[in-house]
Structure formats: structure tokens, C-alpha cells
């Protein structure tokens, strides 16, 4: 369940520092016995991934069989072939990609605009508005499920992708994150631009936003992770398989194809691999995002 977050490092400043483990001045380098702890733990954490990839490549005949083997005798793409041939997984993937693109795009635009407005502009109702937004952190997702469903039904977006997108168009987390970032910028930058005759919007768009790349990266990752992995909103609002997201599709497999393990694991790989690759390449930003949120799909 996804929860919009408060900043979780009360004593640290933003943006978060570099990858943490490197600086521990009080620990002597190369204390070898820590490996004795970390190797088994890391292997334990990696095991489900190894099983997922191996099983997706295992011939069906070798899966429900004794004696069970960890490594298959041969690797095959049958699971993937079945997945792409017999199911709508490509459609669901493109649905999810579309939902995530809209979510990330909308988040980046709307939350940075609002964050800037709340950080820098003076206008009537600003404090009340910001307070109300922050107060919504207290409202848990499950409180919203029924009325949101009814609302979506009234607007007529049940069984459409819009139902999966709308909850991710903007978020408290995004507004708060961007506001904190803009507050940390020196005000002289924009004053110079304003004196030169730029409008507020031009100043924001040309001068301020390009400086906000680190915060925007954090925001993009948060939104991607949340919208890609989201299950609750599609689950309550989408019953039509042609509007399924990837998560909804593979959840449905569990009922329909409960023993077809190579196919199930292949679908798991399809749903997870993009985020894994992304994580490996943008680990630092992911960690920054994680330390700012409690988000977990």
C-alpha cells in the first residue's frame, strides 16, 4: 500500500548526500568478518530473484517434479513464448507504460509549479492551501477506496486507464518535495531575472526549473515506482481485461494459471525487470527517494 510521506530524515538536509556507506570515519576499513554476515544476508535477499529468473527459463516438465533441482538441466524461452502468445501481456505492458508516463509527466509539471508557488509566491490563501495539503497526509488510502470508486463511477472512468492514472497526477509528497527544494535555492537568482523583465513563469521555467534536476529525478522515481507497481486503484476500478495494468494482469494470472510457473515467472520478470534495470543505474536517486518516502507498491 502506498503512503504519501513526510520527510523521514529530520536531522539531515536536502538534497540527500552521496551514497551513505562510504563515509564512516569511525569504522576501521576492511574489517573482514562483516563479510561473514553480509554474504549470507545478501544471498538470502537475492534468492527470490534468482528463482524468478531461473524458473522463467525452466521447461515446464522440470518444475513440478521430484527431486527438485535449483538449476534446470536446460534453459528455454517457452515460458516467455507462451506468455506473449497466449496472453494480453503486451497490451497490459503498454497500458502500464502509458499510465506511468502520464503520471510522471503530470507529477513533474504540476508538482514543480505548485512547489514553486508555495515556496516563493505571496498570494492570499497560500498558507491555508498548503496546510490543507499537508494535512491530507493523515488520510489513509483505505478511507478513500469506496468514495473514490463511486466518484470514478459517476465521472464514467471505471474500466478505463484514466482510473489508474488520475490518482497519480499529483501528490502531497511531490508538492512538498519540490517546495522544500525551491526554498533551498538562493532568492537572488530569480530576483535578477525578474529585474531583467522576465515574467514569473518565464523565470520559473528558464532559470529555476533547470536547477531543480536532482529534485525532479527524485520525484520522477517516486512517481514511476508508485504508478508502475500500483495495485489498489486499478483493482477497485478496472474489471475489463483490455484496460488491465501489468500488475492487475499478473495478479489475475494467479487465479487463472496457478500452476503454469514458467509463464507466471516470465510475467513477473516482465513486470519487474524494467524497475530492476532502472534501479541498478540510478541507485543513488532511488536511495534518496526511499529515504524521503515510505512508498512501496
Amino acid at each position: 500500500m502506498t503512503v504519501l510521506a513526510t520527510p523521514t530524515r529530520p536531522s539531515s538536509s536536502w538534497p540527500p548526500s552521496d551514497t551513505p556507506a562510504e563515509e564512516a570515519p569511525h569504522s576501521k576499513p576492511r574489517r573482514g568478518w562483516w563479510h561473514l554476515v553480509l554474504v549470507p544476508v545478501a544471498l538470502l535477499f537475492a534468492t527470490p530473484f534468482v528463482q524468478m529468473f531461473l524458473t522463467s527459463l525452466t521447461p515446464e516438465s522440470e518444475i513440478n517434479r521430484f527431486p527438485v533441482r535449483f538449476f534446470p538441466s536446460e534453459l528455454t524461452l517457452d515460458g516467455y513464448a507462451k506468455l506473449f502468445r497466449d496472453t494480453d501481456v503486451l497490451l497490459w505492458t503498454s497500458n502500464t507504460v502509458l499510465v506511468s508516463l502520464v503520471a510522471v509527466g503530470s507529477h513533474l509539471v504540476l508538482c514543480s509549479l505548485a512547489g514553486y508557488g508555495f515556496a516563493r509566491l505571496k498570494f492570499p490563501g497560500r498558507n491555508v492551501g498548503f496546510f490543507m495539503i499537508i494535512a491530507t497526509i493523515m488520510i489513509p488510502t483505505q478511507l478513500l477506496m469506496v468514495p473514490t470508486y463511486v466518484m470514478f463511477a459517476r465521472v464514467g472512468i471505471i474500466d478505463t486507464l484514466a482510473a489508474a492514472m488520475v490518482p497519480w497526477l499529483a501528490s502531497v509528497f511531490g508538492i512538498f518535495l519540490m517546495r522544500q527544494f525551491f526554498l533551498s535555492l538562493p532568492v537572488e537568482l530569480e530576483e535578477a531575472a525578474l529585474l531583467d523583465g522576465c515574467s514569473r513563469f518565464t523565470t520559473f521555467w528558464r532559470i529555476i526549473l533547470p536547477l531543480a534536476r536532482p529534485a525532479l529525478a527524485t520525484l520522477a522515481i517516486f512517481t514511476l515506482l508508485s504508478s508502475w507497481n500500483d495495485l489498489v486503484w486499478p483493482l477497485i476500478a478496472i474489471n475489463d481485461p483490455s484496460a488491465f495494468t501489468l500488475q492487475l494482469g499478473i495478479t489475475n494470472f494467479q487465479g487463472a494459471r496457478r500452476t503454469d510457473w514458467s509463464l507466471l515467472m516470465a510475467s513477473n520478470v516482465v513486470a519487474t525487470l524494467p524497475l530492476i534495470v532502472f534501479f541498478v543505474f540510478a541507485q543513488k536517486q532511488f536511495i534518496a527517494t526511499m529515504s524521503f518516502t515510505g512508498v512501496k507498491g
Binding site: P48, L121, P124, G125, V166, L231
Partner: protein, 313 residues
């Protein structure tokens, strides 16, 4: 954006004398709301508005189609006497008791282990953090596979070391334990990251002073480092408790409340009431009850930690 071409205040310049004050105020208001209105409307429209609506729904008997019938606080009275809800509350409590202490301790342990300059630490960190990106749907499939009583990896390992295989998700006494284990796998990264950041905020002089005074590593950790982490421990405990109380996704993607209702949590029960039994009013009442409990826990722990020496949260 309507605010685009609105000319803006230039600090230090002389303002036009024509009707001073008022037009500028309107202009500032337009510019400001132009920036914040879209996101604000979306956020409030999808939170405060439905939250208020949920409260009104909780005072009704409604299946989504018929004419809603006002029933006052009947739904809340019904809740108090609902044995299924009581059961769901117990299961949720069990999961919380399993998950929260374990996740806090695991996060602390992993953070301490990862907080050193040793070779391969980057690789360890990647492997331990990676499960964080795995969705509940994918975790569900993995859980069902790894803990399959017949051919699952966990039982294979048990057999290999001469222990009896277990029923896991098919055993009402073990299913919740399995869910807690897999939640730990998926969420250890969060508590670890928080503790890592906190560990680095502790001045090195503190532990050095303790060492100089003759404390060993273990003593300096428990008597110097750990107390410094107290505010963070309070924070992650509250946070993880709130997460645990709201457990739904993983139940939905693994057991769907089974076996024999052993993993039916409060939110799963709420979801069933709303979207299977179509009792929108009752489900909303349950949601408000849960909200009240969550709020009470948060406030209670915060006040308690402010009063005791933990402080600073």
C-alpha cells in the same frame, strides 16, 4: 497556464501609482493560484473530498445502486459486535507484532553492517535494496512459489537439512509468518536507508570518546550509538506500524484472506465488505474506525516519546 503572461512584482522598482494596492493583490493572487491550483485541486479532490464523503457514507446503508438509507451510527454499532472484524483485527495485530519489531531490528542491523568501508559493500547494498522495487503482485507470485509445500525452495531446504517440510501458506498457523517474512524482504531497504542516514549524522567524536573511556565496540554501540538513534527508532516504528495495520496488497496477491480466514486483515475485510458484499456504508465505517486507531497510535507514541527521554521527534 493562465499565469504565464501576468506581469509580476519587481522588487525594488517603483510600482505604478494607478489604484495602488488592489490590482496588485488580485494579480498576485492570480499568479499564485495559477501556479498552485492544478496540483492543489487534484490532491484535495482525491483526499479531503472523498474522506468527508466516506464519513457521510458511513452513516448510510447503501450498496452503490439502491437509494441510500440514513442509518445514523448503526454501522459503527454493528462494527463493535462484528466477530469477523474482531478476527481481522486480531490477524492484523499478529502481523504487526511479527513485522514491526523484526523490520526495525533488521533495518538497524543491516545499516550497521552496511555502514563501513569494506570491499563489495556496494554490491551487498544493491542486493539488499533491490527487493524494494518489486511490486506486491510480483512478490505475491514469488511467495506462492518459494513457500509451495510440495516443490517450493523453502521446503526443499528443510528437507535437505533433515527437517520436516511445512504447510506455510496452506497452514493457518504459519501463513501470517510467511507474509511477514516476505514483507521484510520487500521493505528492509526502507528502514535500512533511514538508519544508515541516521548513523551518519552521529558525530564520530561520540563513539571515539566512549572508546577512549574504555568501552568495547558492543558497549559503545548500545550505550552511545543506539540512544542517539532513538528518535529515528520511534519514527520508523510508527511508520512501519501504520504500514502493517494497512496490510492489504500482499494478502490479496497470495492467500486472499485464507487459509480458513487466517490472513484476513482489517483492510482486506474492508475491501471484501465494500467490493464483494457491496456494503459501502459499513466498509466506510470500518475505514473510519481504522483511521481513528491509526491516529490514536501515532499521537500516543509521539506524546509518549516526547515525555520520556527519547525526545526530539
Amino acid at each position: 497556464m493562465t499565469a504565464t503572461d501576468v506581469a509580476t512584482r519587481r522588487p525594488g522598482t517603483v510600482r505604478p501609482t494607478r489604484r495602488p494596492g488592489h490590482p496588485r493583490r488580485v494579480r498576485d493572487g492570480l499568479t499564485g493560484w495559477g501556479f498552485v491550483a492544478p496540483a492543489t485541486l487534484i490532491v484535495l479532490g482525491l483526499s479531503i473530498f472523498p474522506a468527508v464523503w466516506a464519513f457521510l457514507l458511513s452513516l448510510q446503508d447503501w450498496n452503490g445502486f439502491s437509494t441510500p438509507e440514513a442509518v445514523g451510527f448503526d454501522n459503527y454499532r454493528e462494527m463493535a459486535a462484528d466477530p469477523d472484524l474482531g478476527g481481522a483485527a486480531l490477524h492484523t495485530l499478529l502481523y504487526t507484532a511479527l513485522f514491526v519489531p523484526a523490520s526495525v531490528l533488521l533495518g538497524l542491523g543491516l545499516a550497521v553492517a552496511l555502514n563501513r568501508r569494506i570491499v563489495l559493500v556496494g554490491l551487498y547494498r544493491t542486493l539488499i535494496f533491490l527487493p524494494f522495487v518489486v511490486s506486491a503482485a510480483a512478490t505475491g507470485i514469488l511467495t506462492t512459489y518459494l513457500f509451495n509445500p510440495q516443490f517450493g525452495l523453502v521446503n526443499n531446504v528443510l528437507r535437505a537439512i533433515g527437517l520436516p517440510p511445512q504447510g506455510w501458506l496452506e497452514d493457518p498457523n504459519q501463513a501470517m509468518v510467511v507474509l511477514a517474512i516476505m514483507s521484510l524482504w520487500g521493505q528492509a531497504a526502507f528502514t535500512t536507508v533511514i538508519y544508515l542516514a541516521a548513523l551518519q549524522d552521529i558525530p564520530a567524536e561520540l563513539t571515539e570518546a566512549a572508546r577512549v573511556d574504555g568501552a568495547n565496540r558492543w558497549q559503545s554501540f548500545w550505550h552511545v550509538t543506539f540512544p542517539q538513534l532513538a528518535p529515528v527508532t520511534v519514527f520508523v516504528s510508527i511508520w512501519q506500524t501504520i504500514q502493517a495495520i494497512q496490510l492489504f496488497d500482499l494478502v490479496y496477491t497470495t492467500t486472499r484472506g485464507g487459509p480458513l480466514g487466517a490472513t484476513e486483515t482489517i483492510v482486506y475485510y474492508l475491501w471484501t465488505s465494500a467490493f464483494k458484499d457491496l456494503e459501502f456504508g459499513y466498509a466506510s465505517a470500518v475505514a473510519y474506525g481504522l483511521f481513528a486507531v491509526t491516529l490514536a497510535i501515532t499521537i500516543g507514541v509521539t506524546i509518549y516519546s516526547r515525555r520520556s527521554t527519547v525526545g526530539g521527534f
